[in-house]
Amino acid sequence: MIKKTGVYLLALAGAGIILAFVGQNLFVVSPVGGTIASDVSLQLLTAGRIAALLGAYVLLLQLLLIGRVRWIEQVFGLDRLSRAHHYNGLAVLVLLMLHPVLVTFGYSLRDDVPFFEQELDFLRNWEDVLSAAIGLSLLIIIGILSIGFIRRRFRYELWYGIHLPLYIAVALAIGHQFEVGSDLTLNNYFRFYWYFLYGFVAVNLLWYRLLRPILHALRHDFRVDRIEAEAEDVTSVYITGRNLARFRRRPGQFLIVRFLARGFWREAHPFSLSCPAEANYLRLSIKRLGDFTGKIPRLVPGTRVIIEGPNGVFTPGRCKREKVLLIAGGIGITPLRAMADELLQQDRDVTLLYGNRKQNGIVFERELAALSEKGLRVVHILSDEPDYPGEKGVLTQEAIARLVPDVADREVFLCGPPKMMQGILKSLHALNVPRRHVYYERFAL
């Protein structure tokens, strides 16, 4: 909580400094006599400058949010950060689109030039405006492609590729900021602040997205050890490496992995660890869901692996109560399977409700049976198996109440397909489980 407040305050302070600088620039540097109160064109220009500066600021924030920056990620969790990234992206678009409109309108009013003539003048005669305009157009295109219903038409890989030109867009606009941003050209302190912001984001991105994974790869020499069929359409990939004990990870966390093999190396994908933290290997249990995951069974032992992470705050570390309920749907079992050992070692009362379509879809059936001998209560629920002697159907509110009568006393860890999670969150709420006792992670990033 304190950490969260700290990060929020840091972000707000960053924006606050911008407003403070613009404010003092208005009175210190801008036209003598401070005519901003009466000069509408100056008001428009000022609004345009603020839109640009805040827009660039939230754009940098946007890069940090999704940059796997560990000190932020470990406070919020990558799934929540990626949602924040989505909304923040809208702020970036709105602010940066307002900037040219306000500034052009301000100048056209001041100098009595028609709007579009002024716009053309900017593009033709002002240094770095054209490149910035191209950058903004790129940004708008990426933004439009990110709108929900359009985004869903793309494969994950294509989607990922679409985002890369964003870095070009940012680069195209840098000159514009330093050459014609009057707050930057006229105030050395502010210019240093701006350099600092860019430097700060660049260092974080370089380290967490590039250098750290490479360093980990060199230090631990991660390699695929073996591939095992786990259940229908589910394959476990065992990864070994040097000094794995020093690769600090918590059960419930996930890795973003890139297999360095033909047909694999271009894409990095997030997968939950499905083994306890103390295991001397890393295990990812992957269900065939698309092109990439379909190729997993063809991985060859010995393949090098580049790993980003571990990421995520969906771990038993957050557990405060004696009694715990784990709810898994399908392949959502992986992080919960990893957590089970630790929760049992802590002598907690742990129940697992595990929903699947069919019996042959149950992942880790034997491991779960072994865990139940150590005290884990496992209830399988099958929806497409009419002859199954155990629990049938889906996890409704009624089913949860019946199977776990003391659910309101438990902390709940939930992982499964989005629709199922939605339904269960509602049921839990109806069953008086306080929100703060429910932990879940969205699969899709």
């Binding site: 036209p31 709105v94 306000l102 309108f105 001041r110």
Partner: protein, 208 residues
């Protein structure tokens, strides 16, 4: 999310309406501001002629850098005259100036006269004009006066500097940067943008 788009659109619309309303108000102007504009137009036109003559004299006396400064200042005053003139035309009147023959003395005396003129404009004339223009809500007049006063302040500083160490202002010529929009004048040749009107460096002239 739709809300935030809507909010953004409303903000833009609101700003546009304020802009048009302000513009319309500015059209209705008091006669006194027009008189002030004519006076300023006349003053700037005379200053331009005067500085051009001073520049020739400074060259003759071997004060090459002072000559450059006078040329830059003359260029700036010309820009101010044009800027004032445009506002006068927009108000439906015709700019009028009565340019007399400048009285040229020694470069030192010319600098002193120039400094005196600029100081008067900076301290007395333009502040009164700006006050009147603001009272009349004439944004265009207020702006052109503000631009002029900013430049005159710089001119006065530069003249003062030259007077303080006249011998050092011989070897030249020296380059000055003059903003094409507002006439801001500076010796800082690495300037990236006009601090007064935000014009980019590409729209500022280098005068020697």
């Amino acid at each position: 999310m739709k809300k935030s788009y809507l909010f953004g659109a409303m903000c833009v619309a609101a700003l546009m309406i304020i802009g048009w309303a302000g513009n319309a108000l500015a059209q209705e102007t008091a006669k006194s501001t027009l008189d002030n504009l004519q006076a300023a137009f006349n003053g700037e036109s005379n200053a331009k002629a005067k500085y051009e003559a001073f520049a020739i004299k400074a060259d003759e006396e071997g004060y090459k850098q002072v000559a450059s400064l006078f040329r830059a200042a003359a260029h700036a005053e010309g820009i101010h005259a044009a800027s004032h003139g445009k506002v006068i035309t927009d108000m439906g009147a015709t700019p009028k100036a009565d340019v007399g023959k400048p009285e040229v003395k020694s470069t030192k005396e010319n600098l002193e006269a120039a400094l005196k003129g600029e100081s008067y404009e900076r301290d007395t004339m333009y502040p009164a004009f700006i006050k009147q223009a603001e009272a009349d809500k004439n944004q265009k007049a207020s702006r052109t006066f503000n631009w002029a006063i900013s430049a005159e302040t710089e001119h006065a500083k530069l003249y003062q500097e030259a007077l303080g160490n006249l011998d050092a202002w011989k070897a030249g010529p020296k380059e000055f940067i003059v903003c094409q929009k507002c006439g801001y004048t500076t010796a800082k040749t690495d300037i990236k943008q006009c601090p007064v009107c935000s014009n980019p460096r590409s729209k500022m002239d280098a005068i020697k």
